[in-house]
Each structure stands twice: as structure tokens, then as C-alpha cells.
């Protein structure tokens, strides 16, 4: 059954931000009505679940959130379509409750020109699962030597506002200063992958007790913290906006807290995996746990949770990093860094922050939707309030569900989830992108998207079978 984009949805008994149940009507791409549970009239008479274009979703007790926004996604296309494509990655994003993602720049070719960012932007539009906002590289080819054409990317159809060499650190302090200054002209932000390169040559995992025992070259916390300290001072000096990607250490949280106390315009993100996993997992040398920055210690995990709860850390971003099997089915030191995260992020945040009483669902909306939308400067369409007249970018979550994670059954094209075999709480029941269901009844709605995309030159010309 296809679900046409013109469908009207009536969400029964949903709890916006986890508050009291209401009925919510989505029509014509916006939130058309909100009323006390059971009182909202369906626009046309409904018998059963579906009548014509009206679909009623029985969702008693489910939490309604603004559609999630990921500031840090690796979609791998162009270049590594064996790991993920814009289509497969954004489909996974929808399954995880996202309505927008920022596609990181470390593609091949690099997203360092207007042409490449427009290509990724267009692939995202054609796929239709979420809004795709390409991140522009700070330096040409992520080489760390010459600024990419930041202005051209900002002025392009992709309207790039987030710039990052993620995977590489902009380690040259002069180049970092210039990038911070330059993007002010179009309200951009530099998102720094904080990793002092000399301190992390050959680094494989967190430097500490575990690395000492198992003989893997250490990635010391100071290599992250020293760059963050330098960058917040640079941002203060030139009056620029700085975003710190995937901070992972207790010391980094302290530096951000200090910087914010000083009034420096800095925002910070943490990944779901750094909220829960530790370097002890490296002991069996399973490269699925190899990630950059590396998994840290229990003390760091506690520090990033506390930082997220008190607002020092502004957002959770997935750093979704798909890799084909062969890049993980090998010696630890030969394996690729990174793990998938789009389909587990919300569950990890629920488990570590909501179920522990440290955050409300309104806080979840803040760190997974409103703040990332603001940092990415996409608040015209994303991270909006749940209110009548607002764009219907929404995520419906069943917090009482539990599921055991299996990499192969995930929507992403790659299997490298660190949560395989673990039971996580919560399940995305539905995702709406401008009123259209991309996920319904917990499953991605392929019909709607294929209907839209099939008219777009995607028929397989030349295939004779």
C-alpha cells in the first residue's frame, strides 16, 4: 500500500515532549490541529484505520518529538558507495527518527567545492527520506593546507553553513583562525575534529590502563583537549562561532564549561557511543569498537553524560560511520575507524539520559533536534516547536518498547554497529517529513519515496533483463 504525500494523519493519544496525551492532525505538510486526546474530529468519517486519504495512527503513550536532526553523518557518497549511499544512509536516518542530516565532507571527491556539495544535496532531495545538508570541507581535500572555497559552497544551492574537515583536524592554528573568521560573513560555523596529529600518530585506542595492557598505541585525552582549548581561545579572539565535534573526555567537558562561562560562542556535541561504551571493549580486539575519537573510560562516560544533562554539551550527533565488512573483519590496527549510529542514537539517549532520570523528553528534543538545527542554521524547517501551523517534521517514539540490535537487519547498508546483541529501549514508530510518513508502524515506507523518485530519471535505462 502506498501512502500518498497528500494523506492526512491523525495521531491519537500521543504525548508531545512526553507530556499529557493529545491528538495531532497532520495535513498539507503542516501540523493542522492539536486537541485533547479523543476530542479531535477526523476531517472525514473514519471507519477502521484508513478511509481515503486519512490515516489514523493509534499511538497511545507514544512520545512525539520534533523530527531529529543529525549534525554529523557520513553518507559516504560519492566515493564509497560500497559502505553507504545517500539513499541508503538517509533511509536509515528516517528509520532512526531523523528528518534532517548533515552529510560530512570526507567523501571522494571531497565536498570542498560548490559542485560536490550541490551533488550531495541533490541526491538527498531525490532520495526524499530526510533533508540532506552537506557539510563543506574547511580545506581543500581535507589537506589542512589551503582553505576550500567556503563562500562558493555557502552561496550554492546547498546553502552550506557547517564546515568541517572531520576525520582530520584543522591543526594549523593560522588556518583555523582564518576559517573561523571567514565563515562569519555568511553565519557559518567551523566544526572541529579535535585531534592533535603529532600526539596521535599511529593511535589505535584511548591511552590508559587498557592500552597499556593490550599493547595498542594510545590516543591520549590531551590530544583532544589541547586542540579544544586552543580553538575556544581562537574563537574568543576573533569573535567567531565554533562547534566541537564528538568530544569524548572529561577534560574536554571542563574546557567547554569554562569557555561558555567566559561567554565564548562555542557549541559541543557528543556521540551516542561515547555516552555508554568504554575502552574496556577493546580487550577482545574486535574492530567494531574501533572509533575516532576512541572509546574512553567510565569516568569520561560519566562526565559527558553530566555535561549533556547540564547543557555544557549542546547536542548528540551520531557520527554515523558505515564501513563494509572487509574494513572491520581484520586486525585491529588495519581496521577502519567508525561505527554506525543513526538507528540506535535515540535509544541510547533514552537509555543513558531519560531512563536514568537525568533528562526529560523535552531535553531530548533540545539535544537531538532544536540545538542541532540551530547550529546548522536550518531552523526555518527543522527543530521547530510542535504547534499548529508548524512544518510536520515529527518523530513518534514508543519508549516502552525494547529491541535487540542486529547489524544485518538494520536499514543502513553497513553492519558495523557496536550495539549488536544488546537490548536497547525505545523504538521509532513513525517519522514524518513535511507531513509525509517516511516511517510508519516501525518500518520505512518505501512506496512513498519510490513513487516520488521513480519519475526522476532513475529508471534503469540500458538494463535489458
Amino acid at each position: 500500500m502506498s501512502t500518498p504525500t497528500s494523506a492526512t494523519y491523525v495521531l491519537r493519544g500521543v504525548r508531545p515532549y512526553g507530556t499529557d496525551p493529545v491528538d495531532v492532525v497532520l495535513a498539507d505538510g503542516v501540523i493542522a490541529a492539536i486537541g485533547a486526546s479523543g476530542t479531535v474530529e477526523v476531517p472525514e468519517a473514519v471507519t477502521g484505520d484508513v478511509t481515503g486519504d486519512v490515516i489514523e495512527v493509534r499511538a497511545e503513550g507514544h512520545v512525539l518529538l520534533p523530527g531529529l536532526v543529525d549534525l554529523h553523518t557520513h553518507l559516504r557518497e560519492p566515493g564509497r558507495e560500497d559502505a553507504e549511499t545517500v539513499f541508503s544512509g538517509t533511509r536509515a536516518a528516517a528509520a532512526g527518527g531523523f528528518t534532517a542530516v548533515h552529510a560530512m565532507a570526507n567523501t571522494t571527491p571531497t565536498q570542498d567545492t560548490a559542485g560536490v556539495v550541490e551533488q550531495v544535496y541533490r541526491l538527498g532531495q531525490e532520495a526524499g527520506w530526510v533533508d540532506v545538508h552537506p557539510v563543506g570541507a574547511v580545506t581543500v581535500g581535507l589537506g589542512g593546507e589551503k582553505l576550500a572555497e567556503l563562500g562558493a559552497m555557502a552561496d550554492s544551492a546547498a546553502r552550506v553553513r557547517v564546515f568541517s574537515d572531520d576525520g582530520k583536524c584543522v591543526h594549523d592554528p593560522v588556518l583555523m583562525r582564518r576559517a573561523l573568521e571567514y565563515v562569519k560573513a555568511f553565519d557559518g560555523v567551523v566544526a572541529q575534529h579535535a585531534q592533535e596529529p603529532r600526539l596521535t600518530e599511529g593511535a589505535q585506542m584511548n591511552e590508559g590502563v587498557v592500552s597499556a595492557q593490550i599493547g595498542l598505541t594510545g590516543w591520549p585525552a590531551v590530544a583532544e583537549e589541547s586542540i579544544i582549548a586552543r580553538d575556544v581561545l581562537l574563537a574568543e579572539h576573533v569573535g567567531s562561532r565554533l562547534h566541537v565535534c564528538h568530544l569524548s573526555t572529561a577534560g574536554s567537558v571542563e574546557i567547554i564549561r569554562w569557555a561558555k562561562g567566559r561567554g565564548i560562542d562555542v557549541t559541543a556535541e557528543v556521540t551516542p557511543h561515547h555516552l555508554v561504551l568504554t575502552d574496556d571493549l577493546a580487550r577482545d580486539y574486535d574492530p567494531v569498537f574501533k572509533v575516532n575519537p576512541p572509546l574512553r573510560t567510565a569516568k569520561d562516560v560519566e562526565a559527558v553524560r553530566a555535561g549533556l544533562a547540564d547543557g555544557t554539551i549542546d547536542i548528540v550527533a551520531t557520527d554515523h560511520a558505515p564501513h563494509p565488512v572487509e574494513d572491520k573483519d581484520c586486525e585491529w590496527s588495519s581496521a577502519a575507524f567508525g561505527m554506525t549510529g543513526l538507528e540506535t542514537a535515540l535509544s541510547v539517549v533514552q537509555q543513558t539520559m531519560v531512563d536514568t532520570g537525568r533528562m526529560t523528553w523535552a531535553d531530548v528534543a533540545r539535544v537531538l533536534s532544536e540545538n542541532p538545527a540551530r547550529i546548522g542554521r536550518i531552523t526555518e524547517s527543522q527543530g521547530r516547536p510542535i504547534a499548529v501551523g508548524e512544518p510536520a517534521n515529527l518523530t513518534l517514539v514508543d519508549p516502552s518498547a525494547a529491541r535487540t540490535i542486529d547489524g544485518r537487519s538494520q536499514v543502513t547498508a553497513s553492519d558495523n554497529t557496536p550495539f549488536a546483541g544488546m537490548e536497547l529501549p525505545g523504538r521509532v514508530v513513525a517519522t514524518f517529513l513535511r507531513g509525509r510518513a517516511t516511517v510508519l508502524d516501525g518500518a520505512v515506507v518505501d512506496g512513498a519515496v519510490v513513487d516520488g523518485a521513480a519519475t526522476d530519471g532513475k529508471t534503469l535505462e540500458g538494463v535489458t533483463r
Binding site: R198, S211, G215, L216, G218, S333
Partner: protein
């Protein structure tokens, strides 16, 4: 005992059984016919991703003296050098019916992965993985220490070893040099501790890993102080890799000369030790850097004997992995 991957977590009972079995193996090696029929028909693969002629021929000799068929699979001149993955190599060895794989690899954890990734069901014997572990080296070191300092085999090592069943309690061992990069140090710290010895690591602070505080040993930055005040019974010198040490991304110490002055072992330092003490080195030595010729060739140096004991220890390890019962049926212990 299915695999021998690390000394961390090896029980004291297993460690002593390995040493006692090694002693039985060593006893057979003074016979005219050194060959035992024990592993006839079994296949042992030496899978060496790093060049190490010494370790490879030691394992090869051990396997052959137990009558096993030995296949040497080295990275050079094989499909490995053409980029075949560890997994594919493991699947190949599995298909060929290897009973035990002795693996030397530059990646820490490679032996653990071979044993546990489900690629292979052979017993895996770690012959050195990256900076992680080299368990048979530690076992041969412990065996050598026990023979000399517990078993009273005499300075020439030819006396009767009376140490069967004994541990190393009360003995002091100083391990000196590049601890940071050393799998030998890691293996020895855990094994010697399990056997009851006290261990002091001696190195410049740059060559001690962050996180060493959880290791069951002391750490000193001063060799002379350790030798004079702690009076170790055995001093084990670690190889220093010249190329990684000074300048560039190394800079672990200012110069080989300064290293040698502060941490090199020589006759002067030997003279402050107790008379019964022994000098050890896993080889290959950098004479004139971490050890002087006078110390290496001194009567109290057991370095050549370590090599001989390596064969006995590797025979014992292969035997216990593959035969699973006690050596030659001559002993009552069957605890594994």
C-alpha cells in the same frame, strides 16, 4: 589448554605445569636421539608475518622434535605479501587441516583474533603479537630463572634441575629497557608475578606506558639505584630499537650514548649484584647499546641457555596444546 595467547590470566597451576613439562622436554634433549613420537601425524603451521628467524626456528625445532609435520608460512614470498587478509589466510590454514598455528604478527591482538574470530579451529600459539604478548618468551625466561635460582643447576647450567613443581617466590627480577613497545616485558610482568616473583621495570619515563600503574610490578627510572638498593636476583635487558629511539617521531631519549650510560648493562653494573644473580636478554642483542659485550659474555650471563630452553618450552607448549595430557606419561599431573 586450547590456545596460548597471553600470560595475563594464566593460572599459577598452568604456569607451573608448563614449566615442569618444559623440564621433562629439556631432559629428553640431552639424549642422543632427541626426537619424541608424541605429535606424529599432527600439523603445526608457523605463520610468521614478521621476520624472526630465531623464534621461527625455535618453534620449528620444537615441533620437529615432537615428530609433528611443520609448515612454514612466512609473509615474504607468499600470498600474504600480495595483500591477502589474515582472515583469508586463516581460512586457508583451516581448509588444509592445521592442528596448531604458531603466529607472529606485528598487530597486537592478531593471535587473539585467530583464536576467537571463528575463522579457524586449530590451537593458536602466540609467538609475539605487536606490543602485546610473547608468552613462550616469558615462559622460557621463567624456566631459565627457575633452573638457576631455584633448581641449582650451577653456573654452567649442567647440574640436575631440582626445581620441579616450584614457583619463583621471593625472587627479584629487574626488567630493563623499552617497556613501552615490549611484548616481552608485558608477558614477563604477568607471568613472573603469577609465579610469586617481584618485578621492577627500569626505564626512562618515556619508555614506560601510560597506564602502567595497574601492572603487578614496581617501576623505577634509575638502573643504578635499583641494582644497588633492590639487589635483583635476575636482570633482564630488553632490546632497544635504535631507529625508533632518537629524533623524529621517536625522541624517546636524547642519544644512544646517553641511554647506554644510564640504562646499559655492563661489567661495572654486574659487579654490584649478588653473586648468584643472572643476566638475561631475549635477543637479538645490540651489543654496546643496552648490554656490553663483557656483560653479555660473562659467566653469569644465561643468554645462550635461554635460546636452548626456548626449544624445550615450545615443545611443552605445543605438547600441552595438542596432546592435552602430560608429557611422556612419566608424571602424575594431569590438571589441564
Amino acid at each position: 589448554m586450547k590456545h596460548l595467547l597471553t600470560t595475563q590470566g594464566l593460572s599459577k597451576g598452568d604456569a607451573i605445569l608448563l614449566l615442569d613439562t618444559s623440564a621433562q622436554m629439556a631432559a629428553t634433549q640431552s639424549r642422543e636421539n632427541k626426537k619424541l613420537p608424541t605429535l606424529r601425524g599432527r600439523t603445526v603451521v608457523n605463520l610468521f608475518y614478521e621476520d624472526s628467524t630465531r623464534t621461527r626456528i625455535s618453534f620449528e625445532t620444537a615441533a620437529k622434535r615432537l615428530s609433528a609435520d611443520v609448515i612454514n608460512f612466512s609473509a615474504k614470498g607468499s600470498s600474504v605479501s600480495k595483500g591477502e587478509s589474515l582472515k583469508d589466510t586463516a581460512l586457508t590454514l583451516h581448509a588444509m587441516g592445521a592442528d596448531a598455528v604458531v603466529v607472529r604478527h606485528s598487530a597486537s591482538g592478531a593471535a587473539h583474533q585467530l583464536a576467537h574470530a571463528g575463522w579457524l579451529d586449530a590451537g593458536v600459539l602466540n609467538a609475539g603479537d605487536g606490543m602485546h604478548q610473547h608468552p613462550t618468551q616469558a615462559l622460557l625466561d621463567a624456566f631459565t630463572i627457575r633452573r638457576h635460582l631455584v633448581g641449582n643447576v650451577g653456573e654452567d647450567g649442567r647440574g640436575t634441575d631440582t626445581s620441579a613443581g616450584a614457583d619463583l617466590s621471593g625472587l627479584r627480577v629487574a626488567i630493563v629497557g623499552d617497556v613501552l613497545h615490549s611484548r616481552v616485558a608485558r608477558s614477563n610482568v604477568y607471568l613472573l608475578h603469577t609465579l610469586g616473583a617481584e618485578v621492577t621495570l627500569v626505564a626512562p619515563p618515556t619508555l614506560v606506558p601510560v597506564g602502567v600503574e595497574t601492572w603487578p610490578c614496581r617501576v623505577s627510572y634509575h638502573l643504578d639505584e635499583t641494582l644497588e638498593q633492590w639487589q635483583p636476583d635476575a636482570v633482564m635487558m630488553l632490546r632497544v630499537q635504535r631507529e625508533r629511539m632518537s629524533g623524529g617521531s621517536g625522541s624517546f631519549f636524547p642519544s644512544p650514548m646517553e641511554y647506554s650510560r644510564k640504562f646499559g648493562f655492563d661489567a661495572r653494573r654486574l659487579a654490584v649484584l649478588p653473586d648468584h644473580s643472572i643476566v638475561m636478554h631475549p635477543g637479538p642483542m645490540n651489543r654496546g647499546l643496552e648490554i656490553s659485550a663483557a656483560a653479555a659474555d660473562h659467566p653469569r650471563s644465561v643468554i645462550v641457555e635461554q635460546v636452548a630452553n626456548g626449544v624445550a618450552v615450545r615443545m611443552a607448549a605445543l605438547y600441552l596444546l595438542l596432546a592435552g595430557t602430560d608429557a611422556a606419561g612419566t608424571d602424575e599431573r594431569n590438571t589441564l
